[in-house]
Symmetry: C2
Subunit: 198 residues, 2 copies
């Protein structure tokens, strides 16, 4: 295939690294950017630089923030007896959108996945453990991890590891998602929905 | 929904403008970038800046290039009796990949689409006309536009407008794509394939 001018192929290479973006999509993005005013290129470039310069993780819960502590950790109205353990910062936005939770968070930074090098030391399990030891106000640990195989492994590991601390350990309910039809529910979900009926 | 730190929401906004990218995908891209080494942010930012600073359009055919003339226009081995009219620069890469064409190009910069303001003056039809008037070596004009309604409109318009110049005007063959099954071919394509059988 014909070679593109270097500035085009460099940006194609950079965009191609984004999740789910192949060379064709990356090229489409680049051609789109070429058709925009040059100031738009600057806007995206500055946003990238600022992301690197201004975003840190909260020193307490490891959520992305611009300050030392994130909005949630600094909010005096949050229920400090609850801690919700999530895989990534983005899950916090999803949970907050439900308005069903008012406690604190802890971002693991991944699920256990030894094949990809995500051992207990690679995600923030030690930090969670230390935080629980130090903070006796936490009564309940909600393991809000995805019900995938890696999520389940992480839930099992954490349940065992945190049990000696004597706090209540819960996980998100499993069941039929809203709008689902019984016909297309998988057996495990339907089984759980039956078992945990109320 | 909970507000993200400004550097995150700024980059989400910038990524959301890319074609086919909504806020959820943009956020996924941003979280991906946050997990990469900070140098990767700089690499993408620099690629964006360089795109704006180093890419121009060829003064003859309007393809994207770093110089005054693009590779094709500068290549003495190209067949200067053929000119292939395409919608966008990206189509040139696709045509070059076939190795079926050795002539020159002309990038229109869009198809006619009066509803979106793409009138004959908004795309490079005048420049094509002038180039053909000046360059008597061009014998054949290949209208390599997509067989969509806007592409067909543009082909019809160009065929009429360029007819007085007395050059051969052709368009890409229509027919069944390789690997297609008759069963799923639409009627127009199948009708064309029958009409232009050989």
């Amino acid at each position: 295939m014909r070679r593109f001018p270097e500035p085009i192929s460099n940006l194609v290479a950079a965009f191609s690294r984004l999740p789910g973006v192949g060379p064709k999509t990356a090229l489409r993005y680049v051609y789109y950017m070429l058709k925009q005013p040059k100031s738009d290129l600057g806007v995206m470039a500055r946003a990238l630089i600022q992301l690197g310069e201004r975003i840190n993780v909260c020193t307490r819960c490891f959520m992305y923030t611009e300050r030392e502590l994130c909005d949630t950790c600094e909010d005096p109205k949050r229920d400090t007896s609850l801690i919700c353990v999530v895989e990534e910062s983005r899950d916090i936005a999803t949970i907050e959108a439900t308005n069903a939770y008012t406690g604190l968070y802890h971002v693991l930074g991944g699920n256990l996945n030894p094949i990809e090098g995500l051992t207990p030391d690679a995600i923030r399990i030690r930090q969670l453990h230390e935080r629980l030891l130090k903070d006796s106000s936490i009564q309940e640990i909600i393991l809000a991890l995805s019900p995938t195989s890696h999520g389940e492994t992480t839930i099992m590991y954490l349940t065992k590891r945190l049990a000696p601390l004597g706090r209540r350990i819960t996980r998100l309910a499993r069941g039929l998602p809203v709008g689902a039809t019984l016909e297309f529910a998988d057996e495990v979900t339907l089984g759980d929905a039956m078992k945990y009926r109320k």
